[in-house]
Amino acid sequence: MLGEKLDPRKVFGKAVTDLAAINQSIVVFSADSGKSSGFGEFSREYSDRYFECGIMEQGIIGMASGMATVGKIPVFCAIAPFVTARPYEMFRNDLGYMHQNVKVVGRNCGITYSDLGATHQSLDDFGLIRLIPNVVILAPQDPTEIKMAVKAMIDYAGPVYMRIGNPKIPVLFEEIPFEIGKGRLIQDGDDLTIISTGSMTATVIEASKILEKNGYSVRVIGLPTVYPLDEELIRSSAEKTKRVMTIEEHYCDGGMGTMVCELLSDTKNVTVNRLGIPKEYGTTGEYADLLAYYHLDLEGVVQSAIRFILEG
């Protein structure tokens, strides 16, 4: 139901479990993290396809790669930095290099593990994984997209990294087929294009309503796929509004905003403003407080957009 708030991990785990009923190749790896990743039901229903390995994330990436050579589709979900930054070389060599059919999911992404501090926050995962050739990066924006993205990533033959958060998020969209690499034009407008990804899109949709009320016409694009970017949609939007603001729960450097800048670097008369986290070790606190601290809350997004439109 639109507007209903759901736990992204539970939605993710259920989507994988439902697909496992019809796809016998799906197996799940846990690094002492399966139940927190939404795999409680999977571990009970499909115990012969559920591999608990304890706390060895780097080893699991390799084991998943080995399993994929025998035709399995391993899904491995744990806290985002532990499946990206920690086993980075294994991700590159065992998954990317061999284009293995393994799905890695980083949960509690961005600053959603707000009170656990910098070790548990993932502010660099887009940047790290996008440098590994041919790995798809997904950041679904609401529970509906999480469900559809899971199906798309299982259907896709190759390595995928998907990031999901931790706090409940609202249902924003009706169910439509998920196409990897396709962005979503959520609202049309002329003054500014806002491009967001992941759970930030809910805030951007709210912000766009406030901006409209204040007389600003905003084009809103949501990206459930961070790599490959929807180049056509981004280019055409940039050419239309000339101003592009990117928003992500990631460092301003190296993530989706950087990728948009690279894409638009040969587009004349377009200015890009990147919103995100400054390149520093994240502080701790309540999630809402951290969003406000980094100006990624509703007020921060609205003010940044108005400032950008007025001051360029």
């Binding site: 390799g62 080995g66 994929a68 050579t69 025998v70 294994m90 061999m98």
Partner: protein, 282 residues
């Protein structure tokens, strides 16, 4: 007995081609390639279920060369077993060659896992064994580790996992040649009593002369007959550079290549060995 001779011939031919590869490339790792040649020969000549015409056969036995820098040995045995033409071995490490410095499963027929960064191959082998058992395949997974490689922590994660899941069709071979790039393994970072360590992780352990084909054959025969719920490691005491007189036991030959004179000496020694073995074989 006849089979032992044919394994010995294959091992000598692998060694001959290792020298050819690293000499052609003017780079490569002859020392560790030569020390693991006997194990590869034994597995490929007698135990491995493979079909070089159908390298993708899903329930095949698999070999993971976790010490991927010893690619010359793996490439040699694959070519000698008709996965690709022998003459291609002379393109080793050359631009546009599919025979890259480290094994790549995407471009080389018969390579079951891409390796190169030490410690990673055994995790993949554990994954293969887990998936094969889940599929009820009757296959064996072999993984070859260097003793220096045991310094990588990831190895022990995989070793723990293999024992936890009772992967009784996983066979590891530790090429215990005692040398690594900077010198003796014992002084660089002592891996200690390897057999004891694997035993402590609840593996079956067989210690033997890893350059003795008869001992290797007996060990593999025992493993194949055994009823066990544990993975097995063969701790093979080997000699780095085995088979080439001036390379044997010299850590400098970990990653050095022979000049023309050294190449000719090595080739002449190995050709003599092959001739001698083939005469006995007749």
């Amino acid at each position: 007995m006849k089979k032992i001779k044919s394994i010995e011939v294959l091992a000598a031919k692998i060694r001959r081609w290792i020298i050819e590869e690293v000499y052609s490339a003017k780079s490569g790792h002859p020392g560790g390639s030569l020390s693991c040649a006997d194990f590869l020969a034994c597995v490929y000549e007698k135990y491995l279920n493979f079909d070089s015409n159908h390298p993708e056969m899903i329930d095949r036995d698999r070999v993971v060369l976790s010490k991927g820098h010893c690619a010359p040995a793996l490439y040699a045995v694959l070519a000698l077993k008709d996965y690709f033409p022998l003459n291609d071995l002379k393109t080793f490490r050359k631009i546009d060659s599919y025979l890259q410095g480290h094994p790549c499963m995407k471009s080389i027929p018969g390579v079951d896992m891409s390796t190169g960064s030490l410690g990673q191959g055994i995790s993949a082998a554990v994954g293969m064994a887990l998936a094969s058992r889940a599929e009820k395949y009757d296959n064996w997974i072999y993984v070859i580790l260097g003793d220096g490689e045991l310094q990588e922590g990831q190895v022990w994660e995989a070793v723990m996992c293999a024992a936890h899941y009772g992967l009784n069709r996983l066979v590891a071979f530790v090429d215990l040649n005692g040398l690594q790039i900077d010198g003796n393994t014992a002084t660089v970072m002592n891996v200690g009593d390897v057999a004891k360590k694997f035993k402590a992780f609840d593996w079956n352990v067989l210690s033997l002369d890893g350059n003795n084909v008869s001992e290797l054959d007996m060990a593999l025969d025992t493993i194949h007959r055994a009823k066990t719920d544990k993975p097995t490691v063969i701790v093979g005491n080997t000699i780095k550079g085995k088979g080439v007189s001036f390379m044997q036991g010299q850590y400098q030959w970990h990653g050095s290549t022979p000049n023309q004179e050294q190449y000719e000496t090595a080739v002449s020694e190995l050709d003599a060995k092959i001739n001698e073995l083939e005469k006995c074989h007749e």
